[in-house]
Amino acid sequence: MATFHAYVHVPFCRVRCGYCDFNTYTATELNGYPQTAFLSHLRTEIALSLEQVGRRELKTVFFGGGTPTLLPASELVEALSVLVDSFGLAAGAEITTEANPDTVDEKYLRELRQGGFNRISFGMQSAVPEVLATLERTHDPDSVARNVFLAKNQGFKTSVDLIYGAPGETMDQWKLSVEVALAMEPDHISAYALIVEPGTKLARQISAGEKPLPDEDLQADKYEWLESRLEREGFHWYELSNWSKIAEGNSGHNMAYWRGQDWWGFGPGANSHVAGRRWSNVKHPSNYAQLLVDGSIPSVDIELLTETQQLEERAMLGLRLREGLDLDVVKKLNPQCARPVSEMVAEQLIDGRAALQGRVVLTLRGRLLADLVLRKILGL
C-alpha cells in the first residue's frame, strides 16, 4: 500500500523572477483575489479531499510555492494543523516549508518550529549578486547564511537550493556559490541546471539576443565539479539534482514523488497522484476559489494511468535515483532491453555491477545523459 503525503501550494510572490514559470501570482496578477482568504479555501479543499480518500496518515507535508513564507507563520501553522487534524500524522513525519531568505526572521522561524515544522528549504540559488540579478532574485545573499544558522539552532533540518548555468554565470561564480552554501553546513543541497522555460521573460530575453543561451557543456562541467566537491564534503547524491549527508537527510517528501507514492496537492495549480490517477488543480486562485465555493473539486486534466503508463513513470523516475531502477520494470516495457543495457554498461553510462544485480544505476556520466539512457533502455 502506498504511503500518503500532502503538498500545499502557496501561489503568491512579491515579484516574479525572470526564469520562473511556476504557478504563482504577484498582488496585481491576483485580479482581486484576497490573499487573506487563502486559508479558508485550503480548509474547504482539505475537507473535500478527506471525503475522497478517507483518513490516511500523512508521512510528509510540504509547503511550496510561490512563496509560502509570504503568509504569516500563524497561517502556515494553522493550515498544517487542519491537515493533521483531518488525516493524522505518522510518527517522525517530515514537515517542510520552502522559504525565501528575505521573508523570514528568528521569530517567524520559532513560530513554525513550535507549530510542528521540522525542515526548511531555502531558495538560495546563488551567492553572486550578478547571477542573482540575472535571475531577478531580490533577496540579500547574506540573509541566507543568517537564516540557515537560525533554523539549525532551532532544530530544523535545512536544505539550500542552488541554480547553475544562468546566462553569463562563469565557472568561478558557480564555485563561489557552492563554497558559500557549504560553509552554511546545511543537511541537504539541491542543485538544478537552469531550464529556460518557454513563455518566461528569460526565454524572451534570450530569443531577443539580450542574454546568451545557457551553454550545455559548461553546465555539464559545473555538474561534474559540484559532484566531486560535494562528495569531498561528505554529501552523497540520492537523486540527480539532490545531495545529502545521511539517508535521514534526504527529502522524504520528494522521494515520495519519485517512488510513486500517493499525495494530494492542495492549492491552485497543485498536482496530485492518488491511486493511479493524476490530476492538477485549476491555476488561478480566483477560479480555484470559485469551484470550491460551488462545492466542486477544483481539478482539471484528470488522467487514469494505464498499467504501461505507470511502468513508464516508474522507469523514468526510478532511473534518476541512486537506488536505481529495477530491471524487471524495464523488461516489461522493452523485452529486448538486454542489448542496450549491455551497450550502456560498456559505454559507462550505467553501473555494471548493479546491472548484474538486476538494477539500472546511472554512473556520473550517465546522470548527465539520463534522458538518453532512458530512451535507449526503453528502445526509443
Partner: protein, 619 residues
Amino acid sequence: MSPRAKNRLEPAKTNPEFIRNFCIIAHIDHGKSTLADRMLQLTGIVDDRSMRAQYLDRMDIERERGITIKSQAVRMPWELEGQTYALNMIDTPGHVDFTYEVSRSLAACEGAVLLVDAAQGIEAQTLANLYLAMENDLEIIPVLNKIDLPAAQPEKYAEELANLIGGDPEDCLRVSGKTGIGVDALLDKIIRTVPNPIGDPNAPARAMIFDSVYDSYRGVVTYVRMIDGHLAPRERIQMMSTRAVHEALEIGVSSPEPEVTKGLGVGEVGYLITGVKDVRQSKVGDTVTTVANPAKEALKGYSEPLPMVFSGIYPIDGSDYPNLRDALDKLKLSDAALVYEPETSVALGFGFRCGFLGLLHLEIVTERLEREFGLDLIATAPSVVYEVTMDDGREITVTNPSEFPTGKVKKVLEPMVRATILAPKDYVGVIMELCQGRRGTMIDMQYLGEDRVQLRYTLPLAEIVFDFFDHLKSKTQGYGSLDYEEVGLAEGDLVKVDILLQGDQVDAFSAIVHRDKAYAYGVLMTGKLRELIPRQQFEVPIQAAVGARIIARESIRAMRKDVLAKCYGGDISRKRKLLEKQKEGKKRMKMVGRVEVPQEAFIAALSNGDEKKADKKIR
C-alpha cells in the same frame, strides 16, 4: 460586335473553310486562362452561372498555381458577317519543362494568339514558344492583355512586339481578359486572319495526337487534330508508332464539356476514347489512322519525351514504400513523361529514382504524390544524366551521383542547354555574373526594346536544375525570365563529392560537381550537416571526400548533457507525455552507421540554399 452564333456547325460535317484552329501563347500570369474564360462566356458555351475562374484548368495544382500543365482543346461557335464558324482553341502548357507538348499543340493549329501582359512585356518562355510557332508557319496575332491595369504601357510593348514579329504597332490588339474589353474583336480577327485548315477528305485518315489525359472514370482521353480523312465511332484505329490497335468507343468535341459526335473530319479537333487505361498507349505526337484504310506515312514530328532531371524520391515513413509504388503507377497513367525505377539508399531506405522533364515537372509530381496520395516524401537533390567513359573503354550512364564510378575515369559528358534570359537592362551585370558562376558561355546579347535585353548562354544543365531560377529571380527582383533548350552533351571536368558521417558514406548527399566547385560543395554540406545533426553521445566527424581524398571536415562534439534537471509533481505527467511523443518521433530517425539523423535534417540539408530557413525548420 459580332453576335453569338445562332446555329453551331455540326462536328464531323463541318466544311474546313469555316474552321479556325488557334492556340494562345503566353507567359505564366499573363492572363491566358482568364482570356480563355472570357471567350467561353462570350461565345455562349459556358453560361454565366456555371462560370468559374480558370474554367479549363482541371487539376487543383493548375488552378492554385495559376499555370496550365495539361493542354486541352475547346470548340466554340462564332458568327462573322452572317457566316457561322467553329473556332478550336487549343490550350498550351506555359512552362519550359513542357516544350515538347507545346510544340505538338502548335502543330495542331494554323494560328497563334501571342498574348503579352501590357504591364510587363514579353518574357523568355513566350519568346521560345513564339519562335516555335513561327517555325510552324502559324499566323501570329499579337495581343496586349490587362490593358485595364493602371501600370499598363500598351504603346511601349506594342512597339516591342512589332519589332519582334514585324508589322505595325497599331495592329496589336488590346484586350482585358478580366473585363472582357476587346475579346470580341479578337475572335473576329482570328476568323479573318488565321488560315482555314487544309487536308484531303478522301485520303486515309491521319490524326495527330497533341494531348492525352487520364480520366479515372473514362480511361485515357486522347485529343487529336484531324489532318486528312475522317474518323468515326466504332472504327478500329491504329497508333502508327506502336502499331497498337484499339476500338474508338467514343468520339467527340469539347465545348467545353464533352459532346459526343458522329466523328471528326478534316481540320477538326476533338477527342477519342478507346478504353485504354495508360496514357503511354496514346503518345503525344503519334499519328492515328484506321485499320480498314491505313495511312502509309505517319505525320512528322513525333519523338519520345526524354527525362532531363533525375531525383530519388523516398517515403519519410519507410512503411509507405508500397503506397508510393502504387501512387507512381497511378500517376504514370496520366503522365507519359514520368519514368521511375526502384532504388535503395543507405540513408533514406527504399524509394524510386524518377526522371522528369524539368524542375517544375519534378515539383508537380512530388506535390501530386503528397497531395493526391497523402504521402510524406523526401526528394534528393536533382541531378542530370552523365555519360562516363572509363580508361578501359567502358561506358557508364549515371543518373544517380552515388553510381558514379570510382576507378580511372577518362572523360565525363554532361548535358548542355542553350538558355535565353530576358530582363530589364539594369540587370545585365548580375545576370552575367550568375551565368559565369555557373560555367556559362555567352552566345549573344540583344536589345529587344529600349530597356529590355535578351542574353543567350550555353550552360551545363546541371548548373541550372538546382536553384538557378531562384537566384535569377532574386537577383533581378523578379523581372528576369528564363527559357532553355537542350543542345547535346559536352565534356566537363567533373568529380563526385561524397559526404561521410563517422566514416560512413551518406549516399543521398553525394553530388557530381565541377572540380573547381568540389571544395565549396564539401564545405557547404559538412557545415550544414554540423548544424542540422543533433549531438550524439560520441563525437561524429563529418567529412567531404573526392575519391579517397578528404577535402573538408567538420565534427559534431559529443553530447554531454541530456537530462531534465527537475522532476516534481506536475513535471511527471509532462515528462511522460514527452516520452510518449518520442515513441512517435522514433520512426522519423534514420541510422547512418551508429549516428541517428532526424529525417528533418535530411530534408533541410537537401532543400538547398536557404540555410536560415532550413535551420528554422529544425529548431
